[in-house]
Amino acid sequence: MRALTIKNLSKEYDIKGKKVGALKGIDLQIEKGSFVTVVGKSGCGKTTLLRILCGLEDKTSGEILSNSPKVSIIFQEPRLMPWLTVKQNMGFSLVESRDKPEADRTVEKYLEMLGLAEFRDAYPSQISGGMAQRVAFGRTLCYNPDLILMDEPLGALDAFNRRKLQNDLIDIFVKNNKTIIFVTHDVDEAIYLGQKIVVLDQGRVVKELAVDMPYPRQTSSGDFFKLREEILSLILIE
């Protein structure tokens, strides 16, 4: 089953009367239940692609055929509501839901799963950056989208928190069978997480690579190393 088919997607920005192409004819197929990472330099169009997929920006041309009615995005920053507690932030999308006990059970489940139960009554200003991003994950999981887009969600974290959350992501992904498109400029991260890696450069898909190493992946293994060299050589060509 396809979660998403993107055909010849283009996006142009008008900068002082000059047309600048951010995406130039992207073709992509995303399978349901797959973890796809999109890797590229800053300015290669990664963020634009995600923002178009979740409707925050309009495309200039091309087609997006979606089998995923509920799409949501996790941003680079946690973007929590500072006036709500951790628990209230997690359930932010569920407040209007009719089945309150069910909504509450969902929030509790993810509070436990993400190790946030102790901090349920804390405000965002009282928790660390890694913790806040965890809450943002939980908030999106509670919303239960068919397709989760992630825009460098671990980019602002230190190496320790980053690895921990990467492992959590794999854990959640395996447990819940979510379709994820994860954008990053970190080649190692793209290989560590993705079942498919899409290499993006200057608004074009340069290559799609399937990764069939089992989780958790060894960053020091030969396969990992070869893949990294291959991706770097693709992006570094000018």
């Binding site: 409707g55 799409v71 973007r79 509501m81 006036w83 932010f92 999308s93």
Partner: protein
Amino acid sequence: MKKYKGIVIPLVILVAWWITTGLNLVNAYLLPSPRRIFETFMYLLGNGLLIKNLAISLYRVFAGFLISVIIAIPLAVLVALNRKAYDYLEPLLEFIRHIPPIATIPLLILWMGIGEAPKISIIILATFFPVFLNTISGIVNSDVKLEEVGFVFNFSKAEILTRIIFPQALPSILVGLQLGLGYSWRSLIGAELIAASAGIGYMIIEAEQLSRPDIIIVGILAIGLMGYAVDSFFLKITNKFIKWDREKSDYAGIDH
């Protein structure tokens, strides 16, 4: 500890006052002794005059404040959400903003007589702008990044407004209310000094005509204490609503 520090200077002033009046260093008619002030205070409390006048002033402040808020907040929301409306209103508002409400008292008396209407109108004029402008700035400065969160969770425009924009604007709106409350006291006393037959401002001006500086001083102290009490009460209530905002910054209120 912080609490006690604030008492030091008033205490020093009180002692200095006591000594200068006790040693007859100043004319007792110009500056009555603290003891005399206390006696007058007890007397005015006993015959109910102080309470009556304070109650009337308080009533005017709250009536005017309430009417003003009911007009200012919805209007500000409308204007903040329609930038075009603001273009029409901005020059006019900027013009009116610079007119001290007290300057309009003669006109208001001419139009409405010396009943309650001109006093409450003065308060409405004084309170309107801080509430209106702070509400607008709270809404206009709402973080687009947080609004996007609502968008990706498929919120309607109304939901984004009530669940993301309003809570964000709340601290700013409350600052406006607090400022407005302070302004309303000042302008009310001004109005009562000019034309009134009751209220704390009236009590003061009548005392001047009766040559009773002790009553004037009791009136002044009562205004200060009342303002302080109302403001503290207001802060206490509002802090509950915006605990998240007040916890990150040591907020103490803004005033000009």
